[in-house]
Symmetry: C2
C-alpha cells in the first residue's frame, strides 16, 4: 500500500518557534514545505513540482524573513505583496502559506479539488494576491499594485516571481519598458532561473542570451544570487531594498526540482535523455516513496543537527500501489493527432508544425522527431509564433500552429485575425479545449476559444471525438478545406472511446448518430461531453426515455438539410457545449433554427458553462456545472415532462 | 477653388530614365512621391502623412536602388521583399509603387475608396507583401518569410520597416529573441526612428532608452544611419548585406513629416505647443496649398539644377475651399465621453484612466489635462496596460482602460480574461467600434469586439448612441454596475444626433423607442447604424410601411419582460448590428427569443457583416455591405411581403 503523509501544522509551529540557527530553520521549513507540496501533488494526482521546488527557498525566505506580511496580516494595506507570475509553482506557495498559518490543513489536502486549492493561483485563496497561470502578466500587474500603493501613500513592497522561460513572452518586455518610464520603482522582480522549460533546457527552446545585460539595458537594477542560499538571498534583498531610483530584478540561479536528487535539473535531464520529466504531473508511486524518503531524511537530519525531535508525520491517505490510471489505458485524441501529423507530413512537404513549448502535451513529439526541419519550436511567444506562421503561409507553406486553446485563441487573437485577412490557409490547433481536465483551473480551461474564432468569416471550426475522427478531421483541414481551420482537441484521456456506426462518414457540415432514440435528441462534440451525453442516454433508457445522441464535430458549419432531416420528429433539442454558453455550437444552432422555415419554433436548450470554470476532478466539476450525465438526464426530464 | 494635382506616371518615367546624378534622381523621385502621397491623402480626406514622409527616402532608396523587385517583378519567388510593419505609412509606399509602375494611376487617385487603395496595406494591392496596420507583427512575419525562402532555397532579402513607437509592443521583443535563436539571418529590420508617436514625442510617451544597445544585447547586428541621406543609406545597406551570421537592424534617424517645413517634427511640435498634428488626417486646404507649393518648388528646383524641364502636373480635382466637414459640426459621442470622464473624475477619486497612445482619438485629453496624476500613458503596449489595470483594481482603484476596439479586445484578450477571473471591476472602453470610419480598413474596423468579450460571464457590454446616453452609460458603469463593463464607442462624428423622447430613461436591459411604427420593428445601437435604421424608416414611410426603430444600448443584457412587451404585435424582428454577424446583439436576441415562450417562433433577421469589412467612404461601405438605409429598406420589404 502507498501511504501519503504530510507534516501537520503543529509540527511546523514547533520548528518555527524553536530557538535554533535562523538559516537552519529556514532550511528545515523549506524542506518541510517541499515535502508537503510533494504529498499534496501526489494526493491530487497532478501539479507542478519542478518549479515549485526551484522557487521554494526564495518563497520561504520572503515569507519567514523578508516580508512583513506575517506580522501585519494578509489584509493589511501596508503589507508587502508577493505573487507568482508563472503561477504553476503554487503547490510550493500553498505549502508555504500553510506553514505560515494562512491556509488551513483541509485546503492543503484538497489541492486541485472542488472547494480546495486551485491548480493555479486564485485570489479567493487566503494569501494569494493575483490570479495567474497564463504567463507574462506579472510584472505589469505588480506595476499597477506598486503605483496604487504610491498614490495611496501606503507602505509595503511588491515582489513578483517570474519563470525564465516566461521571459519569452512579449508582455514582459513591454512591462520592463513602461515600469522604468513611469518611474515605478517599488517593483522587485525575481527570476526563478532554473534553466529548464516544460521538458527541455531553456537554451534549446529559445535562449535568453545575456539576461543581466538585457534587464540593465532596459533600465532596471539587476542583482544575481544563488536562489538556494539563504545568506545570499538575504544579501541580495537587503541590497535591493536600498535601491529606490529604479525598479529591481533579482536573477536567482536555481535548480529545477531542487531537493529531490533524481528530480534535480542536470541529473534529471541526463536520466531523461535530455528531457525533463518533473515539470508537471504527480510522481509515480515508487518515485513518490523515494522522494519522500529523501526529503524526510533530510529534514530529520537537520533537526538532529540542532537537537530537535524528528517530525511527526500524519498519514492522510493509504491507497493501492500501482493503480491503473485512465491515462495509461484510454484513447487520447491528441495521440491520434500526433500520429496523423506524421502520416500527413510524409506526403505533404509543405506542412510546417509550430509549437510554443508544449510539444509533448500537444502530441507533436513524433512529428518533431521525424521532421525536425519542418518543426519550429518558438518558445512561449504565441503572438510571434502566429505571425511567423502568417509569413510562412504567404510564402506558400501550410503552417499548423499549436498551443493550448486559452493561450492560442486569446493571447494571439489579433495576430490570427491579421493572418485571416490575408486569406492564406493556416491550421490552428487549440489543445486542451473545454472544461476537463479541471485540475489546472480557469487559466487553463479553454471555454471561450470558439467565441474567439467564431467571428472570423473565413474560419472553419472542427472538434473531433475519437482517434478516427481526429485523423479524418486533420486530413480534411489539410487536404480539403479552402478556408483556414481551427481544430479543437481535448487533452485528457477519453473517458470512453466513442464508437462510430459502420456507415460512419466524416462529411462536411453533418454529424453522426452515435445512439438512436425517438423521444429527445442531444447534440455534442468531443469525447468528454459525448461520454456524458451517452451516459445520460443510458440513464434515461432505464426510465423508458429514448435519447438520440448525435456527434457534431462541425461547430460553425451546419448542413441545413441534414439538420432539418435529423430534427424532423423532435420538438425539443438539447445541445451540450464544452464551452461557454455564448458563442459555442448552441449559438450556431440557434442561427440555423431561425433561418429554417421547417425548424423555427422548435425549442432548443443550451447546456454549457455560464460562469468561470471550477477547479476539481472531472467528476466534481462536471457535476458542479450540472453537465454530468445525471444532471443532464434530470434536466432533460424536467424539460420534456414540463 | 482648391485644386488637387498629381505628378502623372509619364513624368516620373521621364525622370527615372533621365541621365542625371543618381542621388539627385532619388531625391527628386522621393519628393515626387511625397507630393503624390500628399495629394492622395488630401483627396481621400484622411491618411497618415507624418510617417509616410519620414519613411519615404528609405522606401525610394530600397525600391529604386537596393532591391531587385523592379528588375525581377513582384511575383518572382527570388524577389526581395519589403513591407511595413507599422502600415500607416502606406500612402508613401503606394506613391512609390505608383512611381515604380506597379500600382496604376486610378488606384492612387482612389486612396481609401472602395475598390481603390486600402487605408492600411493589404496584399490584394499589387506590390504589397503583407497586411498590417495593427502594430508589432512585422518582424515575426518577416522571420516566417525568411525561413520559407531558406527552406525553399530561394534568393531575395527580407526588409521590414517598423515605427519607433511600435517598439513598445511586446511582440517585437518576442521576435527579436526567437529570430536569433532560430538562426534566421535574412531579416533586415529598418526602424523609422522619427521620434514622434501619435501626437507626442516618444520620449514623453514611453521612452525606449538606448535602442542600439537593446538590439545588440538581443543578438542583432545594429547599424545606424541618416534615413534621409541616400549615400548614408547606401553605405548602411551594403554593410548589412555583408552580415550573414545574424539578423540585422538599421536604425534610421528620420524626421516625422520630412519634406514639408511646417510638418517636420521639431518645428511642428513647437508650433503645436508640444503636440504634433500631422500624424493622421488630411491637411486643411491652406496647409495643403502651402505644402504643395513647397514640394513642387523643391522638385522643380532640383530639376532645374540638372537641366531638366519642370514636372507637368495633372489637375485631378477642383473643389470648393473651406468645405464644411461633418466632423466640424456633428455630435461626437467620444467628446461626450471625454467630458463625462472629467465630471465623474471630480467626484470619484478612485478612477484612473489608462491610454495606449491614443489619448486625443479616445477623447481623453480633457481628463489627462485635468487629472494628470490619475492619467496613465502606457504607450503602444495594450497587454501591459490591461494587466496594470488589473493590479490597480486589486488595490482598490477603478481603472478605465482605453484603446481602439480591435487593439484592446483582441490584442489584450487574455489579460482581460485574467483580470475578469479576479472579479475586480474594470471598465474597458473599445473606441472606434464598428464599420465606420471605413477609410483605415480592416486592421482598424472593430467588428469582433462584442464576440471577444461576449463569453466573459461577468462583463456587461454597452454601446450608447448619443452624447446624453454616453454620459449616462459611463455613469452607470462607474457608479452602478457591480460587474466589469465594456463600453463601445463609435469614433466618427454622428451622421445625425440621435434624439430621445421626453420620457427617455437609461434603464438596465431596456432600450428606447426612437420612432414608433406598427408594421415592422428594427433594433440597433450606436449613432451610425441607428441613423441608417431611421433613414430606412423614413424611406419605408413613403411606401406606407411603418417601421418602429428601437435603440438598444445593452448588447448582452436584455430585459425579457421589456422585450416581450415591445415585440407583442410584431412577427418579424430586424436587428442591425454594427458588428460581425456572429456574437453580436442579434445572437443575444436569438437566445432571449428561444427562452421566451411568448416569443419563440417569431422570425428574427440579423443584419450585420459576414465578411471582412471593406475600405471606403461611409456611404460606399455601408452600401457595399448592404447596411445603408436603402438596402435595409428593400431587404425589409422583401421579407415582409414574401
Amino acid at each position: 500500500m502507498l501511504e501519503i503523509r504530510f507534516v501537520p501544522y503543529e509540527e511546523i509551529v514547533r520548528i518555527r518557534h524553536s530557538n535554533i540557527d535562523e538559516y537552519k530553520k529556514l532550511q528545515i521549513l523549506s524542506d518541510i514545505c517541499r515535502l508537503n507540496a510533494f504529498s499534496a501533488v501526489k494526493k491530487a494526482g497532478s501539479g507542478h513540482l519542478g518549479s515549485s521546488f526551484s522557487a521554494l527557498d526564495i518563497l520561504v525566505f520572503l515569507y519567514f524573513k523578508e516580508m512583513n506580511v506575517l506580522e501585519l496580516g494578509i489584509s493589511n494595506p501596508n503589507r508587502d505583496i508577493y505573487f507568482s507570475s508563472k503561477g504553476h509553482d503554487c503547490p510550493g506557495q500553498y505549502s508555504v502559506l500553510f506553514a505560515a498559518g494562512i491556509i488551513n490543513y483541509d485546503k492543503l489536502l484538497n489541492l486541485r479539488r472542488l472547494g480546495g486549492l486551485d491548480g493555479h493561483p486564485d485570489i479567493r485563496i487566503p494569501g494569494i494576491e493575483a490570479n495567474s497561470g497564463s504567463l507574462g502578466m506579472g510584472i505589469s500587474k505588480a506595476k499597477g499594485m506598486a503605483l496604487a500603493k504610491k498614490m495611496k501613500g501606503l507602505k509595503g513592497r511588491i515582489f513578483v516571481m517570474t519563470g525564465d522561460g516566461e521571459l519569452q513572452e512579449g508582455q514582459i518586455w513591454e512591462a520592463l519598458q513602461t515600469t522604468v518610464h513611469q518611474k515605478i520603482t517599488n517593483v522587485n522582480v525575481i527570476v526563478d532561473f532554473n534553466k529548464i522549460q516544460t521538458d527541455k533546457p531553456l537554451k534549446e527552446i529559445i535562449d535568453l542570451g545575456d539576461l543581466e545585460k538585457k534587464f540593465e539595458v532596459f533600465g532596471w537594477y539587476v542583482k544575481r544570487c544563488d536562489g538556494h542560499d539563504f545568506r545570499d538571498l538575504e544579501d541580495a534583498f537587503s541590497e535591493l531594498k536600498e535601491i529606490t531610483d529604479r525598479p529591481k530584478v533579482l536573477i536567482a540561479d536555481t535548480i529545477k526540482g531542487k531537493g529531490v536528487s533524481f528530480m534535480e535539473g542536470p541529473t534529471a535531464l541526463e536520466q531523461g535523455n535530455g528531457l525533463y520529466r518533473w515539470h508537471a504531473g504527480a510522481p509515480d508511486d515508487d518515485s513518490y516513496e523515494a522522494g519522500f524518503a529523501e526529503l524526510i531524511d533530510k529534514i530529520n537530519g537537520h533537526l538532529r543537527d540542532v537537537s530537535l525531535e524528528p517530525v511527526k508525520l500524519e498519514l492522510v491517505e493509504t491507497r493501492q500501489k500501482g493503480r491503473v490510471r485512465l491515462k495509461d489505458v484510454a484513447e487520447k485524441v491528441v495521440n491520434a493527432y500526433g500520429e496523423a501529423l506524421v502520416e500527413i507530413g510524409k506526403r505533404r512537404k509543405d506542412i510546417i508544425v509550430l509549437d510554443a513549448d508544449l510539444s509533448a502535451d500537444c502530441g507533436l513529439r513524433p512529428f518533431e522527431n521525424t521532421f525536425p526541419d519542418r518543426f519550429i519550436e518558438n518558445g512561449i511567444a504565441e503572438q510571434d509564433m502566429v505571425s511567423m506562421a502568417g509569413g510562412l503561409a504567404l510564402q506558400g507553406y501550410l503552417p499548423i500552429v499549436n498551443s493550448f486553446g486559452v493561450f492560442l485563441a486569446s493571447r494571439a487573437n489579433e495576430q490570427i485575425y491579421t493572418n485571416a485577412t490575408e486569406n492564406t490557409k493556416i491550421i490552428y490547433v487549440c489543445h486542451y479545449a473545454g472544461l476537463i481536465p479541471a485540475g489546472p483551473g480557469k487559466s487553463h480551461q479553454s471555454l471561450r476559444d470558439i467565441s474567439l474564432f467564431g467571428a472570423l468569416p473565413n474560419c472553419i471550426i472542427v472538434e473531433p471525438c475519437n482517434a478516427i475522427e481526429t485523423k479524418k478531421a486533420l486530413q480534411w483541414c489539410v487536404d480539403e478545406s479552402r478556408e483556414l481551420c481551427m481544430m479543437r482537441l481535448v487533452i485528457s484521456p477519453s473517458p470512453r472511446t466513442i464508437l462510430f456506426p459502420d456507415n460512419y462518414e466524416f462529411s462536411f457540415g453533418k454529424g453522426t448518430v452515435l445512439k438512436d432514440g425517438e423521444d429527445v435528441i442531444i447534440f455534442s462534440y468531443g469525447p468528454v461531453m459525448l461520454n456524458e451525453a451517452l451516459k445520460a442516454s443510458e440513464i434515461l433508457e432505464k426510465e423508458n426515455i429514448s435519447l438520440k445522441v448525435v456527434n457534431m464535430p462541425w461547430i460553425n458549419r451546419i448542413d441545413k438539410t441534414w439538420f432539418e432531416n435529423i430534427l424532423t420528429n423532435f420538438e425539443s433539442i438539447f445541445v451540450l457545449d464544452n464551452h461557454s454558453i455564448y458563442g459555442g455550437l448552441g449559438d450556431f444552432f440557434l442561427n440555423v433554427l431561425m433561418e429554417s422555415d421547417n425548424l423555427r419554433g422548435k425549442r432548443l436548450y443550451k447546456l454549457a458553462i455560464n460562469e468561470f470554470p471550477e477547479c476539481g476532478t472531472p467528476v466534481e466539476v462536471l457535476k458542479y456545472h450540472r453537465l454530468d450525465a445525471e444532471s443532464l438526464a434530470s434536466f432533460i426530464k424536467t424539460k420534456i415532462f414540463k
